[in-house]
Symmetry: C3
Subunit: 153 residues, 3 copies
């Protein structure tokens, strides 16, 4: 059995961003020399996720707007009446009482999930034709880490 | 260490469907000869998920209706005012501008998640009494692939 | 390759609860003697989840309230008009027709996801500074099992 671990730090210009990392994960697999196994790709922060989706800008813009409706930020005015009604009591997250302003990012992270496992077959990420791996930032503009851990033979 | 990979293609009659695949996953474990390990079960498309849940028709109907409320399709009239309010600006997904009509399936897939890991103990899927593995189709009526990857000894 | 399996049973006093289990997972890693690998932490019931998040009471209270809005229970009056509008047709889940009252717990479980994989590096859970592992109970007050399965070397 072989294992390999790689870390990457992201610092996005925008508070929210999708960063395509398929090549980064493949590079870690190449370094590992593993031909058959699994690659865990996991955010090390609780306000960033990892997802596998199509690299289509419309989907990403749709998803960001939709995540804002399901988990509205309260550090700006709600986008509409539904978003307003979904805001917790008092119009702000309890998490913000300590001075934080990223309560929504924790919930968005929960929806998107913070990790994926990519199967590795014959030394390649075994993804479907439209599957790409993305780092999903919900509270950026500061350095945040991601771990890639590969197990196999 | 041993590894084993199996692929399956699903072509559901309905656009949305739950297909129980616990036996399919166990069959792949049997073929692998692995006694202790992990079985990754992962959709290779971005409009289909995999979940572990009770095989109870009421839960599945509830879940489909609920997913339609949280991630409404716009290729038919919204079910109610809440669904309508949740529809992105202009009443349709940006993803549909290219001619696609499955914008909601991408979001439903995000909610359900596209993969699970089933632990394998003494050669059997180590599931709780009500846990069954399902392939969750959100944009069917065409061939779509699933990968099962087992790692262990 | 080594593998190790541990089971834990939880019986929470409250119907819904977050139980921090980071130490429990680290203890299983210690028992396994595994230095490099992956630890799967997975609920064996379909109304309980596992998440990785900050151990901050405000986040947990926010999340419980938010989950109640997205997946409202119908065994008590909805919290507000949005929650009421999200209730499935007829005001109750189909799953409740058989006498169950935990239809919402199945949906909450779907949102939170029932499992995580924690990377193991140099014998330690390789988590970020604010990442803690929690068992998330949505239908407690009875014994429910969790499996920890570690694979590595």
């Amino acid at each position: 059995m072989k294992s390999h671990t790689a870390y990457h730090t992201f610092r996005t210009d925008e508070r929210r961003a999708f960063v395509r990392i398929t090549d980064l994960v493949q590079a870690a697999v190449d370094e590992s020399g593993i031909r058959e196994g699994m690659a865990l790709v996991s955010a090390m922060h609780i306000t960033a996720g990892v997802w596998v989706n199509d690299d289509e800008p419309g989907i990403q813009a749709d998803a960001l707007e939709w995540l804002d409706k399901l988990a509205p930020p309260t550090w700006k005015a709600p986008a509409n009446g539904v978003a307003e009604a979904l805001v917790p009591d008092g119009g702000d997250y309890r998490h913000h009482r300590g001075g934080e302003d990223n309560g929504d990012a924790h919930l968005k992270n929960l929806l998107v999930h913070h990790q994926v496992i990519v199967p590795v077959t014959a030394g390649r990420l075994d993804l479907g034709p439209w599957q790409a791996v993305f780092y999903c930032e919900f509270d950026g503009r500061r350095g945040k880490r991601l771990i890639i851990k590969i197990l196999g033979e």
